[in-house]
Amino acid sequence: MRLEFISLTWWILFLPLFSAAFITLFTLRSKIVSSLISIGAIVASFILTIIFIHANGFQANVETSINWLTIGGLHVDFGLKLDALSMMLLLIVTGVGGAIHIYSFGYMHEDEGMARFFAELSLFTFSMLGIVLANNFVEMFIFWELVGVSSYLLIGFWFEKPSAGDAAKKAFIVNRLGDFGFLLGILMIWGILGSLNFSNLQNQLTTNPVALGAMATTAGLLIFCGAVGKSAQFPLHVWLPDAMEGPTPVSALIHAATMVAAGVYMLCRILFLLNTDALHVIAYIGGFTALLAALIAVQQNDIKRIIAYSTLSQLGYMVMAVGLAGPTAAMFHLTTHAFFKALLFLSAGSVIIALHHEQDIWKMGALRKKMPVTFWTFLTGALALSGVWPLSGFFSKDGILAQALAQHNYLLFANGVFIAGLTTFYIFRLFFVVFFGKEKSEITLHAHESPVVMTLPLIVLAVFSVIGGVIGIQGIYHGIFAGEAGESASFAAALFEPFTHSPLAASCGILAVIIGFASAFVLYAKAETDPLPEKLGGLATAMKNKFYFDELYETTFVRAHDFIAAVCDWIDRWLVEGFCIGLVRGGTDLTGRALRLVQTGNLQTYAFLFVLGVALLLYFVLK
């Protein structure tokens, strides 16, 4: 198929990189110029994406690539894969990312490192676009790691705070753990199938589904390890809440539109590699993560941490959907989640800025009147997250629940419904405490609405959070994964489609939302302090302490790691350094000292030794 503007896609990918390089090299001194360059780059990428999609439609499926390296049997291309999946992700990354860039202009304008911040944002965007457009495993892995690096830079942006530095390191190291498995999986697939190109692999596996043989499950799960790290699934979920140490726009960018979505996107991209067993494991890990994170979110008091755990929970949903063989539902939820989660984060950021970086929800309250725009956008985000009809979250969440029913996996279905209730409960707990009730501290008295540059992106995202479910996104994804063109249902039909398609899922979802909302309203609408710890006792403490996962890892893995490190240190210090090196060094030293005695400085001793040598030589020669 001939494609128009194919060269545009290279610009889409590389504009943010140019921006990052230009800012770093030339304009670090000027905040305004730097931020405008960065915003300009991503907005240009967004516009180019729209032009490209407008010219070619979503049915295109092409690759353009250049040979990057050939070593023996290993051929690695640097290529762009353009199909509906990557184009949708391009739209999300550049669109939502663009909104976040513009918002950052307002959020960061008082920060000294604003230029550096925008350079890092651009680098991050470039890396993420690379993952989206990659057409082979090695290229994806490279960008995968680049995302790791740039997230490290962004999370540790306020590096003078030790907690931010630690969080950045934690995110990077935990991600590396997952990436190790990912790399092993890539090697395994290359070893067995001899190719790294996605389309090539897909062809091989379509013609011969058992090409991977006995290693199919292992390879699939190793690849999944990468997603476990990036998308913060149990047991590598611990980095994500700590990553809240970064500035709020970073949280929105990493946790809504891009980085964590990369794992789910990758799973959908390589879905053909995963067999039934691997999918089962994936589904249950996703379901468990969703449940765990939702429970933890119920008892957090930091406004950003609640939303972070919510992100974890929703990612669990998406991974569960992938595991239930429902990539359409997963990608659909990823898309709507990108809208409403970015909205929630940015609204929370607006609150945080208004309260001069206060993040404890029990010190907020009654912000409804003081920050009307933020109030309404947050409400929209909360409703969409809960899955209230007809907002976007309802449709995508319903898609996942319906998928669980269709797979007859009633355990995960019940799990999903329960989490839907919990989700509503914790987000409205946050909502009531922050925006209703009395002012719980001094600072809320002086709060005022954020500037237009911050509220405008909020409004745009709010609009998409509302209509995201009915503008045909699901149809596009359906077209990718089911192989049939997405039916263009009428607007009204799309609105009521879930009720006709799977009435049980839809009604259970709505029931869960109602119960969650009602209990949040009863408990928190007028609460001065959190009533839940008294009612739940030990469970609440466990939730508040994140089920002690950090402590568990601290006492097991970190200790074990320290022990191994100590052993290695001992071996290095005493065996290698002390024994091996010491012996050689000591031996040389001793010989040197012994030989030094010969050098007396006495001329006649030298002469004597000289004669002795000559005599010896003569003896041997004349013998």
Binding site: R596, Q599, T600, G601, N602, L603, Q604, A607, F608, V611
Partner: protein, 101 residues
């Protein structure tokens, strides 16, 4: 008694050994220097004897060269010793241990 090559070489060996002994045992640089000359002349004697008894003039030519070079060497060496004495006020080898580390 017929004086042959053997006797000459014996004298030469004795001279050489005495010179060597002097170089190794004596303390005064000047005496060491004189002992060195003795060793050179022992070698000269051996060369001349060989030349005489093998009817080959090469040895005698070599001896001329050695005498010439030795003369030059003596002048340089004595100059060095004088310079050294002026600097250190001593011509004894025990005092010249700056080669020791």
């Amino acid at each position: 008694m017929q004086v042959g090559l053997e006797q000459y070489l014996t004298v030469s060996f004795l001279l050489f050994s005495l010179g060597l002994l002097g170089v190794i045992m004596r303390r005064n640089l000047l005496v060491i220097y004189m002992s060195l000359e003795l060793m050179l002349n022992a070698a000269n004697l051996a060369l001349v004897a060989f030349s005489r008894f093998t009817d080959n003039l090469n040895g005698q030519v070599l001896v001329f060269f050695i005498i010439t070079v030795a003369a030059a060497e003596v002048s340089v060496g004595l100059a060095l010793i004088v310079a050294l004495y002026r600097k250190r006020q001593s011509a004894h080898v025990e005092d010249l241990t700056s080669m020791k580390l």
